[in-house]
Subunit: 399 residues, 2 copies
Amino acid sequence: MNVTGESHRLDTPFGFTVEHRDPGGAARCGRLVTGHGVIETPVFMPVGTVGSVKAVTFEQVAATGARIILGNTYHLYLRPGHELIARQGGLHRFQGWDGALLTDSAGFQVFSLNELNRITEEGVEFRSHLDGSRHFFSPELSMDVQLALGADIIMAFDQCAAYGADPREVAAAVDRTTRWLGRCKDLTGGRTFRDGWERVLFGIMQGGVDETLRRKSAAEIVDLDLPGYAIGGLSVGEPTSAMREMTDLAAGLLPEDRPRYLMGVGFPDDILASVAVGVDMFDCVLPTRMARTGTVLTRDGRLVIKNRDFAEDTRPIDDECGCPVCARHSRSYVRHLFQAREMLGSTLATIHNLHFYQELMSGIRDAIRQGRYPAYAATMSGRWLAGEEARLEQVRRGR
Amino acid sequence: MNVTGESHRLDTPFGFTVEHRDPGGAARCGRLVTGHGVIETPVFMPVGTVGSVKAVTFEQVAATGARIILGNTYHLYLRPGHELIARQGGLHRFQGWDGALLTDSAGFQVFSLNELNRITEEGVEFRSHLDGSRHFFSPELSMDVQLALGADIIMAFDQCAAYGADPREVAAAVDRTTRWLGRCKDLTGGRTFRDGWERVLFGIMQGGVDETLRRKSAAEIVDLDLPGYAIGGLSVGEPTSAMREMTDLAAGLLPEDRPRYLMGVGFPDDILASVAVGVDMFDCVLPTRMARTGTVLTRDGRLVIKNRDFAEDTRPIDDECGCPVCARHSRSYVRHLFQAREMLGSTLATIHNLHFYQELMSGIRDAIRQGRYPAYAATMSGRWLAGEEARLEQVRRGR
């Protein structure tokens, strides 16, 4: 069941090495070593929410060049359940993906998808978005669930304060996130071997858009000396300027020799700007979600492929693109599939968008290696302006 | 844009040769030569209704072993339109399928999907099932549309009387089908080259379940000496026994040296029984439609994969199956995808069912070559009992 075409060693210890730095800035190119393959950074991780990257097979995901994907602990815990997945040998085997896996902690979803959650020091009580049933998530349960899923990288259970929340609430979330991170580390030791595979724990920084709180959060989580760190609490509705400013600050507060993961970001421009300040890892539902609504990305910007303008357009979606969709199909054909409500339309648009993101990232890595990142970022930026509404829409619909 | 992995010669003339016969019966094994590849018969043609075999890519279709698929003239005429497809180089290129193509004549749909059709000697006036708009289809338009689509095999525009129709109506439909076939042949000469590709015309026999009318229809269409013949007007609601009896009669009335195509059939048992009386070609939406509702076929029968019974079933859908789904995924995983309403569930079930049909057909061909077809058909039959309701449901939903 090898979809990535690579064979993996069970005894590879997790590691991260920076191999190239942009002379003029903080951008860097590195290698993330996991038991399920080596990943070049900066990397974009497609989102496989609930056991599937929506609308495509894992062979198709691997064919885009992706070697690490994200799974959502919250969704998998509710359906089909982590115990069922564990009984079947873990998430890699259950879904048939032999590349690397990262699972989030469910923290983001229990806060963002649940108005009615009740937070205590112990954890969070929330209602399932599927059937309204009551559940209780704690740092300990998040670790148990993620260890059962068996991802190579597991995320700490954090408290993400909403944008615009009371400053005292944001401060309290920082302190609780630190205490919860301690409990997550106590349970896992930060890195642990299970069934011959290593799983490592990443800590998550909070602090909203408050510089002082970001510094405090960073100092406290870095103190716990973890294999990697994530920047949380951004892309939750704040203005682009604030997100960029905080990302710049946050990345600089994290250790040089550990991977830096900006959670839930994002739009190509956000990725280009965040790489410039030293971010290594990204994930976002954008390429897959946009694809299912008929929006595809090209080097010249976004196309709403369903539009009448493309009815007779015999060009590929993007004539510089190396994906199988652009090799074989016209805009006219893909547009027809959406008009006729054929599932294949979503599949082809998803393959293209995922391939587009992988090409964007390899372009970024090449530019860093060749010491021309600032110029590359400058030419690439501004082609896919998101606009605040698009961002807020993304936040509203959850990640 | 080669999906079948074969390269085709533009100047291959259409041909059909019988290579093996079952010593004890009428079953036969042959080769259908088209400009887009050589097809071994008996063959099952997956249905690519409106520019896509639902829920799968054409690479995935080719990987099941399929080398000829069917396209629906009625659906493609309405959306995106045959002129648009012609401007893009024809249906092969438009959808990115380089295997062989057969298009039906729209006759079946204008009768079955339209209660409000008006039939004259000239043709049929009907309303679009999409927007109720009025359209008029004639033998001439059907030929024009099919020649524009550019399939390797095009079907005559026939009149299909409903099961239980007044005997005089069935008799009139036979006469009109013969006259319309004459007009189709006048327009195409029976076989014609366009843009370097050959398209051949198949005639269609009607006559409902009336032996005398079947003999009359057969005599009249065979008299026109066409490259191939289809048995129409069956699998339209008649009892299984009547369908089997008429198929046996009809196949025997068609020339030994021409391919015999039983339209819209069907269930594995119908295929096994029809091969035994000398049918060479089949098409049906069954494997793809069943897949999208979570029903998969195995050597032990049908499984409704969504059922609770499969929640923890770690076995593949069919442990004798060679498809990539059975190689990589468990019943439990596929069931989960349907539970979570992930599109991938439909995709994986479709890949499996199409692969299952291709394996069924290659098993049939091997058995004929080895002179053991009756025994093979006997052991395989009765595993996937359809039941009249299933048949009627299929008829009600259209093909």
